[in-house]
């Protein structure tokens, strides 16, 4: 029998019962959420089970939801069963004040750099990672830049009620220059 989303869901519910929640299938990819202490157990189960064989870690990254109090950071795993050619995605949510998640490096070598990258940008502390240091940013950096509290300048201009179409800063700078020039002329 070909492996289907229903079958995967059935196997996982048999094993973990009500622990796994939020089952959805956006664009055909089975997605669910696991409790954060369970991430390795779920990964191991998906890896070992002869029927499921999710043995390829496609991708691992984090998402920051600042409004989701107590569960601000989500770590997202994309797994692929290359034999049956089916992909699934599962998420683990964690508190931003204590972002500890078990590392998947023992299961997948590929997780090494991906977890370092996730740590680098979101500050997720992967317990058991062999070398959890910054990878793309400088070592001296003391914040996690991909978190939502570090916004970029808004280029889509939905903030048009600001002075000069949201370019308040430029306006203020120009005023400052004007004031200095005036002060200079007065002195002369």
């Amino acid at each position: 029998m070909a492996l289907t989303n229903e079958l995967i869901k059935q196997r996982l519910t048999e094993k973990f019962g009500e622990q796994l929640i939020d089952w959805v299938e956006p664009y055909g990819m089975l997605t669910f959420t696991a409790p954060k202490d369970f991430n390795l157990k779920v990964l191991q189960f998906l890896f070992d089970e002869e029927e499921l064989r999710f043995r390829f870690l496609t991708d691992l990254q984090a998402v920051h939801y600042p409004d989701n109090i107590g569960e601000e950071l989500a770590v997202v795993y994309h797994l692929h069963n290359i034999v049956d050619n089916i992909r699934i995605r599962f998420k683990v949510f964690t508190d931003i004040n204590q972002p500890d998640i078990f590392s998947a490096t023992a299961l997948y070598q590929a997780a090494n750099f991906m977890e370092r990258e996730t740590f680098d940008f979101f500050g997720i502390n992967f317990l058991g990672h062999p070398n959890l240091i910054r990878i793309l940013n400088v070592d001296e950096m003391d914040y996690f830049p991909m978190r939502k509290e570090f916004p970029l300048e808004d280029q889509t201009r939905i903030d048009k009620d600001d002075e000069m179409f949201g370019r308040e800063l430029v306006f203020r700078e120009q005023n400052k220059i004007k004031a200095t020039l005036e002060a200079d002329t007065k002195l002369n």
């Binding site: 664009y27 870690l57 991708d59 070598q109 750099f113 793309l136 889509t156």
Partner: protein, 407 residues
Amino acid sequence: MSDQHILLPEGSIEKLTTTLNLGPTHPATHGVFQNILELDGERIMKATSTVGYIHRAFEKLAERRPLYQITPLTDRLNYCSSPINNMGWHITCEKLLGVKLPKRVDYLRIIIMELSRISDHLICNSIVGVDSGAYSGFLYLMQFRELIYEIYEEVCGSRLTTNIGRIGGFERNFTNRAFEKLEQFLATYPKQLKEFEALFTRNRIFMERTIGCGPISAERALNYGFTGPNLRAAGVDYDVRAHTPYSSYDDLEFNIPVGKTGDCYDRFLVRNEEMWQSISLIEQAYKKVQEFKGAEAEVFHADSPAYYLPEKKDVYTKMEALIYHFKIVMGETDIPAGEVYCSVEGGNGELGFYLISDGGRTPYRLHFRRPCFIYYQAFPELVQGGMLSDAVITMSSLNLIAGELDA
């Protein structure tokens, strides 16, 4: 310490190994990344790799940009085959937005994507030649990258970082001159590639140099997250084009070449064979493009006014067109909320885009799965115990592109 090759005089306080910085700006790295090697004579005891020298925060930038402004960012991932990255991004957006593409656009895209796969592989393979001391192969093939770039130029106006196509198709139809150049390419390239293969494939020196150099088993390669030619050289026939066909690849016939040992020689052979497959794919797609008649033969984009820029003359004369033009250019089109992962077969493997939209005008989160970044972590294991000069060809035959490492 009995396996040490160089011994120090008794009582010396020197350490037994030499530390060598290969990179960040070493000519042999072909990009900005560093390898700190611990050498015993010429043998590598340990390699530590550092990346991040050209990190440009694309994922953060993408959170403040409308979809069409993210395309130029994807150019700069694997800049040897930027059209594939562009197309991958467009396909991801189209999947999220639910845009259906006409068949002709799909085939045109296949032509462009396979051309860029050829340009990616030919650079990689000829550089393997250069690094192993055979410069002439590089000169044989390099002129054809130029020809491929001229085809891009005819299609979109730029060469290296192409920003080719739009969400929903191409910005304009292919000109006759583009097709002429394509025909010229199809007529001349196979001959040259054959000559290139004659220079290398059964060349005793090249074989001695590359066989058994930087090998990896299929199991390790899968565990390390290898994809693309490097995984196929290890003997796993995983190809996104065949596993999850996108852009009508399922209409065309092609083989997936696989190697056995995963060493430099197998990677070289797999890439060469993939170039032949790409040529055949381009021929098939071009034939299909020629089969369209009448109005269908002029189609170069999907009919999706909310995301595809209207024609300029309509903007001046029609109100709807003007509104859509303004909304698209100013990035004021709302993206439907959703979560999508979409991947294409890039030059180096599975190039994935994980896009989360919360219904705003920009992605809530965008992550690039960069094949290079993921398989680069196997490099220390590949070169350990080998010679220093083997590390250099292993690096070039993995086709490490600094832009893709760092994003």
